[in-house]
């Protein structure tokens, strides 16, 4: 198994460097595609392993622990450099404090002779590795044609793609390292690499707004980094080990030190997962090219945040911290679902929906029962696939119609039929049974039913979700019936990732009982299989049959002439686009818009309140442990 582990972590670093050094775009494409295939194969090969520990041997007489420590400081140095370059006080303070903490930890506290295995791979790690390596690789492949066109739009003299792909591919290695790390210092190291990578990628286009948003992402994630260091310090003083498995085994009875440490590490996870009040960095990350958004939102970065919270769940089970995590998560779920309603920018809707779903994952980790943990893992899997798909769809649409506003996507079905139906199906996989995301939501609500506040917030949020998704799906279809869809040309490297992700979302949902048996059941021994109560197969069968029936009925209607929409008798002839006879006998075309309810859910109305309330909840979560 050790080969796969080394390959999954190191190959992306090497491939990233190759992308940077090989300046021919053909070679770069080759490197990205081959790396993607190898990563995917290696991640699947890893799946057959049971829980396994692994520590790489020393290189050139230097132990890896030492090397990681040195690299930690180098990394913080780079971040500090950017703090000075962009003259941001917060980044400077946070990185200097992190260095101080690390010095204390590494030089004075940690007993370096205690053996700690560097990597530990269990079911949760495997799930994460699969998502990172397969979904992440697909996004990297999608980025190849996308970035070519992106740069053509920008009229760049020298391509910035080498740097772009360096960080994009390297990101996958850092994520793989993060989710397999067993030494908490290693986890921290990879955690910081993802911070730097996302900073580089968000600021990629180099525009003023891109730099501004990248800097914001950096300071927020540095705050998380600092919390992580503090969390490690508290944990170490309490439990006296760097071994994550040992920390988890010590459990929440280990004392206040551990709980405060866990509270701080969860806080670090919150910043990375863009939980309120840190949502603004992920929203700002929209300025980056779409593959970056897709990567940050689905398989990397934010998933690192929820992974950390979920990984540590056994250590704070049954404590006040756990309840605090559940509250914070549920509040994020609700707040961001509400904010998503007021948005017409497609990418922003997706961003809020991501944060919202991550909130649900965090809430499940906080509820901390086997069923809730199962729900969290299901959500991680299904959200990654569906959200990656939706981001790539929006990217494709944006390059075609020049807008990411869903009002401009009105009747997209007639202009881009292929992309439109993929997008609609993607939306449905986020929203309706029997698809995985909803199954996870069902499990989450069932397991939250003992917690009054959490379940109330989930109930409200779940309803809000329906509004923004259903509205978008409907908007894509809003076109006159007699307008025939035009054929849509699409490069293979765009079409294939879209179709693979769509197939993944559907097939994984069908296979959810097997997914449960394979990855969730071993982690929650003794728990009854809740998926059995979901009637997965009968539901798929009946609904599938229903959809086929509906399609047949719709197809048979092609022979009939489509009627004009009702215009209270003012129609002009048989115009099916809703043109009517307006004032002065002039033809007026119907224009419709969605309700975005800004007076109730507008960003300017809610954000301040949401941020203050969320900050208070986080204080409660960490403070309650004291």
């Amino acid at each position: 198994m050790s080969t796969q582990i080394v390959l999954l972590v190191l190959l992306p670093f090497v491939a990233g460097l190759a992308c940077y050094l090989l300046r021919a775009s053909f070679l770069r494409a080759l490197v990205v595609m081959i790396t993607g295939v190898i990563l995917a194969v290696a991640s699947v090969a890893l799946l057959s392993a049971g829980p396994v520990s692994y520590s790489p041997g020393p290189v050139l007489g230097m132990s890896w622990n030492m090397l990681i420590a040195v690299l930690d400081f180098a990394l913080l140095g780079v971040i500090l450099f950017y703090g000075f370059k962009h003259d941001n006080l917060l980044i400077k303070v946070f990185s200097v404090l992190q260095m101080l903490g690390l010095v204390i930890l590494e030089l004075f506290w940690v007993d370096h002779s205690a053996p700690v295995s560097a990597f530990y791979v269990d079911q949760l790690s495997m799930v994460m590795v699969l998502i990172i390596s397969i979904v992440g690789s697909l996004i990297c492949v999608f980025a190849l044609p996308y970035m070519k066109e992106h740069e053509e739009h920008l009229h760049l003299e020298t391509s910035r793609q080498p740097r772009f792909f360096l960080f994009l591919v390297l990101f996958l290695g850092a994520m793989n390292g993060l989710v397999m790390a067993n030494n908490i210092l290693w986890l921290y190291f990879f955690f910081e690499i993802t911070t730097l990578c996302s900073f580089m990628l968000i600021g990629h286009d180099g525009t003023e707004v891109a730099v501004k948003n990248a800097v914001r992402a950096l300071w927020m994630n540095s705050a998380g980094g600092l919390a992580f260091v503090l969390g490690m310090m508290f944990t170490y003083t309490s439990v006296g080990t760097l071994d994550i498995q040992a920390i988890l085994a010590s459990g929440s009875a280990a004392g206040t030190g551990l709980l405060v440490g866990m509270g701080l590490i969860c806080f670090a996870g919150f910043t990375k997962a863009a939980q309120v009040p840190f949502q603004s960095w992920l929203l700002g990350a929209m300025v980056a090219p779409t593959p970056v958004s897709a990567l940050l939102h689905s398989s990397t970065m934010v998933k690192a945040g929820v992974y950390v919270v979920l990984r540590m769940a056994p250590a704070y089970a049954g404590s006040f911290v756990s309840d605090g995590v559940a509250l914070c998560g549920a509040f994020t779920f609700l707040a961001c679902a509400a904010l998503a309603i007021s948005q017409s920018n497609g990418k922003k809707i997706l961003a809020y929906s991501t944060i919202s779903n991550l909130g649900l994952i965090v809430a499940c980790a906080g509820i901390n029962t086997p069923a809730a943990i199962a729900a969290a893992i299901f959500l991680i899997i299904f959200h990654a696939v569906s959200k990656a798909l939706l981001f790539l769809c929006v990217g494709t649409i944006e390059q075609h119609i020049g807008s990411r506003d869903i009002e401009d996507m009105r009747g997209l079905y007639t202009r881009m039929p292929h992309t439109a139906w993929i997008t609609i199906t993607g939306i449905l996989t986020m929203l309706l049974p029997p698809f995985g995301v909803l199954m996870a939501k069902w499990l989450a609500i069932e397991s939250a039913s003992g917690q009054l506040v959490v379940v109330t917030m989930m109930a409200l949020a779940s309803a809000l979700t329906v509004v923004y998704w259903a509205r978008w799906a409907g908007t894509l279809l809003a076109a006159p019936g007699d307008r025939q869809p035009v054929a849509e040309a699409q490069p293979a490297l765009i079409r294939v990732p879209l179709l693979v992700l769509l197939a993944g979302a559907v097939v994984l949902s069908v296979a959810s009982p097997q997914v449960y048996e394979a990855v969730v059941a071993p982690m929650t021994p003794g728990a009854a299989n809740p998926i059995e109560a979901f009637y997965v197969y009968p539901l798929f069968a009946v609904l599938g049959l229903g959809v086929l029936l509906a399609l047949r009925a719709a197809r048979r209607s092609r022979a009939m002439t489509y009627s004009a929409p009702y215009m209270a008798g003012s129609n002009i002839g048989m115009a099916t686009d809703g043109t009517w006879n307006g004032p002065m006998n002039q033809p007026v075309k119907v224009e419709a818009g969605n309700y975005y309810l800004p007076a109730m859910f507008g960003e300017d109305r809610l954000t301040t309140f949401v941020n203050v309330a969320a900050a208070a909840l986080i204080v409660l979560m960490i403070g309650g442990a004291l």
Binding site: G411, S449, A463, V466, A473, Y535, R555, Y562
Partner: protein, 284 residues
């Protein structure tokens, strides 16, 4: 096995018949309140039969697709209820129908159906959390989301969950599209909305939607019935009183705006739910 088949048949065949009959009785009673004669009790069936006899017309194929999915989801959720499945699962299957009804209305560029679709979404937004909370309260009182387990509960739930029954009443009024909440499709075609989400549907497809609506009516009334499931007679009395109250409210209230509905129903509904849920927590 035989019981299962029987229950499926009850859910599939008898439920819409009961729903249609109820619609007819509703019209008779409403007419009586308004000192009119009213149509025959079977009028709802005559109407739907007539709709199926009409020439199929639609503005685009998506409408037809959506009408069918709405129908299938409504029937399926009703059948699942009679099979005594998990309440949340039934609810989510029902949500498929709600979503496709909106999507179908949005697929036509007509102002009436567009506005109706947006308003329908707000109706969904209003009743969904309340229904989930009703199910959660049933879980807290009985320890299960499974209809079969809830039916096995020995005392009438109404005594433990009186406020939740009122909350369910709000959801029922919205689902039945009754005043003051009838603003996504109105019973009266001459109003500013015409027929809202249903404006663009006609003939057999409107018939399908009508039958789907009967399924949904029976489903929500079925949930109401869970509140006194220990005694068949009392269950019938409870349902009769509830439906009568719906008709009276419908006839005495004017339609309100969606802003009012969202704020009013959420605040009152959440308030009542929280009080009743705390009550249950205190007992556990």
């Amino acid at each position: 096995m035989l019981t299962t088949i029987l229950l499926v048949l009850v859910g599939l065949v008898l439920a819409p018949l009961a729903g249609g009959l109820l619609a007819g009785i509703d019209r008779r009673l409403t007419a009586w309140f308004q000192s009119r004669q009213g149509p025959p009790v079977m009028q709802a069936f005559y109407d739907v039969a007539k709709l199926f006899g009409k020439e199929p017309m639609a503005s685009n194929p998506w409408q037809i697709f959506c009408a069918w999915v709405y129908f299938v989801a409504a029937a399926l959720s009703c059948v699942l209820f009679f099979l005594q499945a998990d309440l949340l699962l039934i609810f989510f299957v029902q949500a498929i129908g709600a979503v496709f009804l909106v999507v179908g209305a949005m697929s036509v560029p007509s102002p009436y159906s567009q506005v109706g679709a947006q308003r329908e979404l707000i109706q969904v937004l209003t009743y969904e959390p309340l229904l989930i909370l009703v199910f959660v309260s049933l879980y807290l009182a009985t320890g299960s989301f499974q209809v079969s387990d809830i039916l096995a509960h020995e005392t009438p739930l109404l005594f433990q969950l009186p406020l939740m029954f009122i909350v369910l009443g709000y959801a029922l009024t919205i689902k039945l599209r009754k005043s003051p909440f009838d603003f996504s499709t109105s019973h009266h075609g001459h109003q500013e909305l015409v027929k809202g989400v249903l404006t663009e549907y006609s003939g057999p497809y409107l018939g399908l939607i009508e039958i789907a609506h009967w399924y949904e009516t029976v489903l929500v009334l079925g949930v109401c019935a869970l509140f006194w499931s220990t005694n068949v007679l009392m269950m019938i009395v409870l349902l009769a009183v509830t439906y009568m109250a719906e008709i009276i409210i419908d006839n005495t209230m004017a339609r309100m705006t969606w802003r009012w509905m969202l704020k009013y129903v959420w605040s009152v509904g959440l308030g009542l739910s929280v009080v009743n849920l705390i009550w249950l927590y205190a007992k556990i």
